[in-house]
């Protein structure tokens, strides 16, 4: 039996992480990466509220009232973790010390723009730390379902929703494909075992470069 789509995306996303990297995991699918994380890589997970070295959500028994991630969940720590204030936490992000941010998306444009923080008139909860993560992580990887709840493509020619950041995306990982943003163009680099090229093209509403060779599967 195949994995649920979200798990498939998270498992594939985990492979992006190189040993020793500093990584921030947004809410949703990004957080699911923890489930597949190979801790031998000694990854340092950053949480915006002032933690480096968080491990994973913990049980009621070990939950500490003073130890939550940026989403509010109770967490435990790896050895060598540290705490700091919000100011240093974002210095780390903006100053270039965050190797990868994994974030979700509402819309993705053909040039790698990201919109994921507001739907005017409907959903306006504020930006939180997302704009700085999107704009300043050394590598921004979007983990998202290929289509929205209505089945419409999330990857579109240009975003209709207010942007989180312009031309910020390096790679997109969905349940169907891995797509890179190269020179302001989208390039298909991997195909899911369960997917076909036709399906990917159909569900992507933006120009997609398709290399003239067999693509790796995941």
């Amino acid at each position: 039996m195949s994995l649920p789509s979200r798990d498939k995306i998270a498992r594939r996303a985990e492979q992006e992480i190189i040993a020793g990297q500093v990584v921030n995991l947004g809410i949703g699918i990004p957080t699911l990466i923890l489930k597949y994380l190979n801790w031998e890589k000694r990854v340092q997970i950053h949480s915006e509220n002032g933690i480096l070295g968080m491990q994973s959500h913990c049980s009621r028994e070990t939950a500490d009232r003073n130890l939550i991630d940026a989403g509010g969940g109770y967490i435990d720590l790896v050895k060598g973790a540290s705490f700091f204030d919000s100011s240093l936490s974002f210095a780390l992000v903006r100053g270039g010390r965050l190797d990868i941010a994994f974030l979700g998306a509402l819309e993705i444009s053909a040039r790698g723009d990201l919109a994921n923080w507001m739907i005017p008139g409907k959903y306006t909860p504020g930006i939180g730390g997302g704009m700085e993560l999107a704009q300043k992580a050394r590598r921004l990887i979007i983990t998202t379902l290929h289509t929205n709840r209505k089945g419409q493509p999330k990857i579109i020619e240009s975003c209709n929703l207010p942007l989180t950041a312009k031309a910020c995306i390096d790679r997109i990982i969905t349940e169907l494909a891995v797509i890179d943003v190269v020179d302001d163009q989208l390039k298909l680099v991997e195909i899911a075992e369960e997917a076909t090229l036709e399906e990917i093209v159909e569900k992507t509403d933006a120009p997609l470069m398709i290399p003239d060779r067999n693509l790796p599967q995941f």
Binding site: R60, D64, Y74, D85, S86, S87, M131, E132
Partner: protein, 231 residues
């Protein structure tokens, strides 16, 4: 200079119409007892500066729900549908900042600076109404410093001089806010003898703190939120 006082006296300096910074990111670091005392005091027309608005019926949300807050300068209200609804119904004015820009504006005020220049949000709606500037070929927008009349913060440990130590993720906005208000009130879980804190481990030096309140046994609000236990 013994700064230890009772909570009613400490809060009594807060007046109608003032701007108040409140520490905390979720439950950790939120000064629930000071917030409760401010609610009891009945002070109105406040401008609050806080990362989020806690969750419905908790922390600063109680002040907002009671109609005491005219304006909220914040980063994210995703966990507080009650306040979001009050915002949509124009019962409260809300100004959103990227989280790191919010804390940086507070730090900037605390550091006695006028503003700073950043490229965060430069290609987004958030750059509207901000002064554009180019420095050494880099394009940015000007962000203004934030200060408050009073900061209400929470620390794990304090001494009678006002030195503070925070615990784990309860540090968050508290150290920056401790620098950025005319009067800083710190609630602490326990007060230790002055001189017993290792000077290398003090997070907020005494000079920044005006009043210290010991909160004693922690009320339920400080505990684990069951709906945030995910494993």
């Amino acid at each position: 200079m013994n700064k230890v006082t009772n909570i009613i006296d400490a809060i009594s300096i807060i007046k109608d119409g003032q701007t108040i910074m409140v520490g905390g990111f979720g439950v950790p670091g939120t000064p629930f007892m000071l917030i409760e005392a401010l609610l009891q005091q009945g002070t109105r027309h406040l401008t609050l500066i806080k990362n989020e608005a806690n969750e419905p019926h908790l922390g600063v949300s109680k002040l907002i729900e009671a109609g005491r807050v005219d304006r909220l300068i914040t980063s994210h209200l995703g966990l507080n549908t009650t306040v979001l609804e009050l915002m949509h119904n124009k019962k409260i004015a809300v100004e959103f900042n990227p989280q790191g820009i919010l804390v940086e504006r507070i730090r900037c005020g605390g550091a006695g600076l006028i503003g700073f220049i950043s490229d965060i949000g430069i290609d987004t709606v958030l750059s509207q109404n901000k002064q554009a500037i180019t420095l050494n070929g880099q394009k940015g927008v000007v962000e203004s410093a934030l200060r408050a009349d009073v900061a209400m913060i929470h620390a794990a440990v304090g001494d009678d001089l006002g030195n503070l130590v925070y615990e784990k993720s309860a540090r968050n906005f508290n150290p920056a806010m401790a620098t950025a208000a005319d009067i800083v009130i710190a609630e602490v879980e326990s007060i230790v003898n002055t001189g017993s804190l290792d000077p290398d481990t003090i997070h907020t030096p005494s000079a920044f703190v005006d009043r210290v309140v010991e909160i004693g046994k922690l009320q339920d609000e400080y505990g684990i939120l069951e709906h945030h236990v995910f494993a």
